[in-house]
């Protein structure tokens, strides 16, 4: 064997070992089971094969914008009051579609410069433009609006991830979904209960502790009538309702609640399932030191008054303040034990910055996934065997060459997937076998060309040389076009389709190496052992 050939052999064997490592890793024990476990550990199966839940959600980014513009309105009103600038009305004319737009009516013409400077100083994210009849449109700047919306999505992803992490799901995927705007893709392998996952993700769990100034009343009207139809300043009427499923009360309850919060969920340090004084499941929360100070000053000023625990704008519980409280409280509400766990979890993970809507839900049961693996692998093995055997019959010894190249191709493909943590899906298995079918094309191209050159009277070494060099251009062209379409597929697809594109791209890339480099090396080795003029088995 000449030196050149030894080098090529060393490279090929090196690559073989590297990619075998990609598939098998280094098993902890070398029994059949240990090796299998090691493979399963390295080749990640997609949801369609291992079962699980796939969700696409839409973040209602306008919610976040509305919160921001509401705050802006509150700030603006206060500043206009302190600067003694008159106005007739401040509204959001189209809160659903243009929550970033605020209209201020009736600003006196002689105060416009003051008005503009207040906007510029106090609301740097907004621009004011004048309209008809002394009205002004105060709208959020385009860049700020885009930032705010993107921030809402990334915060939502963060919050959802926190909550999912507490569910203990292994390898969850929670990421922005590129196909739509402000969408999130959630994939939870092995989770069979999408309803519960959605419950946990969706509960906004906005906790506020406020002062209760009256109630319960039987209806909203009754609450208003109590105060002669006019609410005390800075209060709202709020419905009281237990979220606990054990609640059997059917009568409505309404309370008059202060607008301002003593503390909110942001002041929370932790929350955990607990029991109340009657031994019923409840949630105990502990405030941060800052929140504790706020809570202490509030409760010490309001001993004897009523306190309302408000969750997602529903009064959860009203209790009298017996004494100043520092930093601990309990939420009761006829919960089941599971509900106290879920509620503590959502309280801990923080509130979603905006509502979410579900766009797509797919659940694959584990039994279906197992069936899919079985049939997919069986089809792959049959297809592969058919190709390998055909090549042996049709090209004889050169067929062995092609088969070695194909098997190496497969090893490199799977090794790639192991190293890159690529996900194997059911269409991905199809991609593997399609790679075999398409990969063999390179060998066929080369072999047919060599046969042709031999027929034209070339000697075996020169026919091999010519065959490879002519076929090479064609092989590059065919691979590039297929990889182009697979790459587009990768960008377009999600889940299973992406898995298919991945295997196809890796497989074809590996094929360039095996069909040309390895195959050529084997031919050179065969030729180096032959006498001059001896025929080639092809």
């Amino acid at each position: 064997m000449n030196k050149n050939l030894s080098w090529k052999l060393a490279i090929s064997v090196g690559i073989l070992l590297v990619f075998l490592g990609g598939i098998f890793g280094i098993p902890k024990d070398w029994s059949g089971k240990g090796v299998l476990a090691s493979v399963v550990d390295r080749i990640h199966l997609g949801l369609d094969l291992r079962g699980g839940t796939h969700l696409i959600l839409q973040v209602q980014v306008n919610d976040a914008v509305n919160v921001d513009s509401d705050n802006a309105i509150a700030r603006l009103k206060e500043d206009l009051r302190t600067h003694k600038i008159n106005y007739a009305d401040i509204t959001k004319p189209d809160a659903d579609n243009h929550p970033e737009m605020i209209v201020v009516k009736g600003v006196p013409p002689d105060q416009t410069s003051d008005f503009k400077s207040i906007i510029a100083d106090r609301l740097p994210d907004y621009d004011a433009t004048s309209g008809a009849e002394n009205s002004w449109t105060v709208a959020m700047k385009g860049q700020s609006l885009a930032d705010l919306k993107n921030r809402a999505v990334s915060q939502a992803i963060e919050t959802i991830r926190n909550r999912i992490d507490q569910l203990g799901v292994s390898e969850p995927v929670i990421q922005e979904h590129g196909l739509g705007q402000y969408q999130i893709l959630v994939q939870l392998p092995g989770v069979d209960d999408p309803a519960r996952v959605k419950e946990i993700m969706q509960s906004t769990a906005m906790l506020e502790i406020k002062q209760s100034l009256g109630g319960p009343y039987g209806s909203q009207q009754a609450a208003l009538q109590e105060h002669g139809g006019v609410l005390p300043p800075d209060t709202v009427v709020m419905q009281g309702k237990s979220i606990g499923s054990r609640n059997s009360d059917t009568g409505e309850q309404w309370y008059i609640i202060s607008r301002a919060s003593a503390v909110t969920g942001r002041d929370l340090r932790t929350a955990e399932p607990s029991t109340d004084e009657n031994g019923q499941p409840a949630v105990r929360f502990i405030l941060t030191s800052e929140g504790g100070r706020k809570f202490y000053s509030f409760t010490s000023a309001h001993v004897g008054d009523y306190l309302a625990v408000v969750l997602d704008n529903k009064v959860q519980e009203v209790a009298v303040i017996k004494e100043a409280i520092h930093d601990t409280g309990v939420i009761n509400g006829r919960f089941t034990q599971q509900e106290t766990q879920d509620l503590s979890m959502t309280l801990r993970s923080g509130a979603l910055p905006a509502g979410i809507k579900y766009l797509e839900e797919r659940t694959v049961g584990p039994s279906l996934g197992a069936d899919s693996i079985r049939s997919g692998v069986r089809a792959a093995i049959y297809g592969m065997l058919a190709v390998l055997i055909f090549m042996l019959i049709y090209y004889r010894w050169a067929g062995v060459n092609a088969d070695i190249a194909l098997i190496l191709n497969l090893i490199i493909l799977l090794g790639f997937m192991g190293y890159f943590g690529a996900v194997l899906t059911l269409p991905g298995i199809a991609g593997v076998i399609l790679t075999v079918g398409m990969g063999v094309d390179s060998n066929v191209l080369i072999f047919e060309r060599i046969r042709e050159e031999l027929r034209n009277g070339k000697t075996p070494p020169s026919a091999v040389e010519q065959g490879f060099s002519h076929a090479w251009i064609t092989i590059v062209d065919t691979h590039v076009t297929t990889i182009v379409s697979a790459a587009i597929l990768f960008l377009f697809g999600t889940g299973p389709v992406k898995g298919f594109a991945t295997t196809l791209v890796f497989g074809l890339a590996a094929n360039l190496f095996t069909a040309v480099f390895v195959s050529r090396m084997i031919f050179d080795w065969v030729l180096s052992r032959k006498q001059r003029g001896e025929a080639l088995s092809i």
Binding site: L368, M438, L489
Partner: protein, 409 residues
């Protein structure tokens, strides 16, 4: 062994047969798309609810239909799915029954309708999550673990074992919870099983798989699928335009378009639904069909250089014949693998592998019957207008700027 040796078939002479053949299939497909079945879009693109149900016995499709109708579900479609022995049924609801507000409304209604004969106050063990079982066990506490700190994890393990047994060993459906035929005995403590019997029953079905796609995603995916196909075609056009002459790119893209049309037409004629994976198969075919075309084009380019005095139609014929062996072999081998997928790959891959089966046949045929004749027709058209014959992809006379030199590595 050798199948094809020195073939000398006049492919271009048969172009009218090819044209007729292609027209018949294209027109049939287009007619079906326009007038008959339309383009049957799957739930991925249309939106809607799909529920795959496995039964413990041979399912009675018409009885299921009656139950769904009685529950007030509009236009439910019920059909047998997969191998007959698997006792599986596919239930589909239109997008109208899949509301944006509660995406899984349709699914819940289906389950409720199928469980209409359930004993009052009992949960269905075949369609309960491990969590529902865990909650039940924690409440009933059949093993009297209330005082133990590890009651929760222990019951969780039991609940998971029951669900695993149901889903993995029993393919998703437990047949019985009764004492005489109690197949849960080996999985859980008898006290647990006895307690489960109080709160649970087993229905005769289990949900294996659910797909719910809202209208927004459906629309989005439709748009993306069309865009991806167009990008793919544009990518081919540009690549081939750069590597060959633009007319080669146009010929290849027209060919691929022809293949796509016939493949989609076949789905329309058979009224099979086009799902996401079918689109993936079609995009793959765009790449694959191009492979075949490129191999022929490459040979034409090579032969134009060698046989400068021959007519283009002769060169094209010769090139097709020279590559025929390779074309048929590769197509045959790829076809073998795809056929294995179609036959053994399971129901989930059926549409996908069917698209590949059709596409590989058509793609191979079209690289011979469509792509090459377009080249020749173009040249004849130019000649008819008194222009020079087709510009040679390799201007080999001056010896400069040969793509072959550029590409050779």
């Amino acid at each position: 062994m050798e199948f094809f040796r020195d073939t000398n078939i006049d492919f271009l002479g048969k172009k009218w047969y090819f044209l007729t053949f292609s027209l018949i299939f294209s027109v049939a497909g287009v007619m079906s798309m326009a007038l008959w079945h339309g383009i049957p879009l799957g739930v991925d693109f249309r939106g809607g609810t799909l529920v795959y149900v496995k039964y413990a016995h041979t399912p009675d499709v018409s009885a299921i239909h009656t139950e769904l109708d009685r529950a007030g579900l509009k236009n439910p479609r019920v059909q047998r799915y997969g191998q007959v022995a698997n006792d599986e049924v596919l239930i589909q609801l239109d997008i109208q029954e899949t509301s944006e507000q509660a995406l899984d409304k349709g699914k819940i209604q289906i389950i409720q309708a199928l469980e209409s004969h359930a004993p009052a106050g009992k949960q269905d063990l075949n369609n309960s999550s491990s969590l529902a079982i865990l909650n039940y066990l924690l409440e009933k506490d059949p093993l009297h673990l209330a005082s133990d700190a590890d009651a929760n994890p222990r019951y969780a393990a039991i609940a998971q074992a029951i669900v695993d047994y149901r889903d993995k060993t029993k393919s998703g459906v437990l047949v019985s919870l009764s004492n005489s035929n109690d197949d849960l005995r080996g999985v859980a403590d008898p006290a647990v099983v006895a307690s489960l019997q109080d709160g649970f029953f087993v229905s005769d079905f289990g949900i294996r798989n659910v797909e719910i796609v809202g209208p927004q995603v459906g629309q989005q995916l439709r748009k993306q699928a069309i865009l991806a196909t167009l990008y793919s075609l544009a990518g081919m056009l540009i690549y081939l335009g750069v590597r060959f002459e633009w007319i080669y790119g146009v010929a290849a893209v027209l060919t691929v378009f022809h293949d796509t049309l016939i493949t989609v037409g076949a789905f329309s004629l058979l009224n099979w639904e086009i799902s996401l994976t079918v689109i993936a198969a079609i995009l793959t075919l765009i790449g694959y069909s191009n492979n075949d075309t490129i191999v022929v084009f490459d040979r034409i380019r090579e032969n134009i250089k060698l046989l400068r005095r021959d007519k283009l139609s002769d060169i094209v014929n010769k090139s097709i014949n020279q590559t025929l062996s390779r074309t048929i072999l590769t197509a045959g081998l790829t076809f073998l693998t795809v056929l294995a997928l179609f036959l053994f790959g399971g129901e989930v891959l059926h549409g996908f592998s069917f698209a590949l089966v059709i596409g590989i046949l058509i793609g191979t045929y079209s690289s011979i019957a469509i792509a090459a004749p377009i080249l020749v027709a173009y040249q004849e058209w130019r000649a008819g207008r008194g222009q020079k014959p087709i510009s040679m992809p390799l201007r080999s006379g001056n010896g400069s700027a040969q793509p072959k030199e550029k590409i050779k590595v």
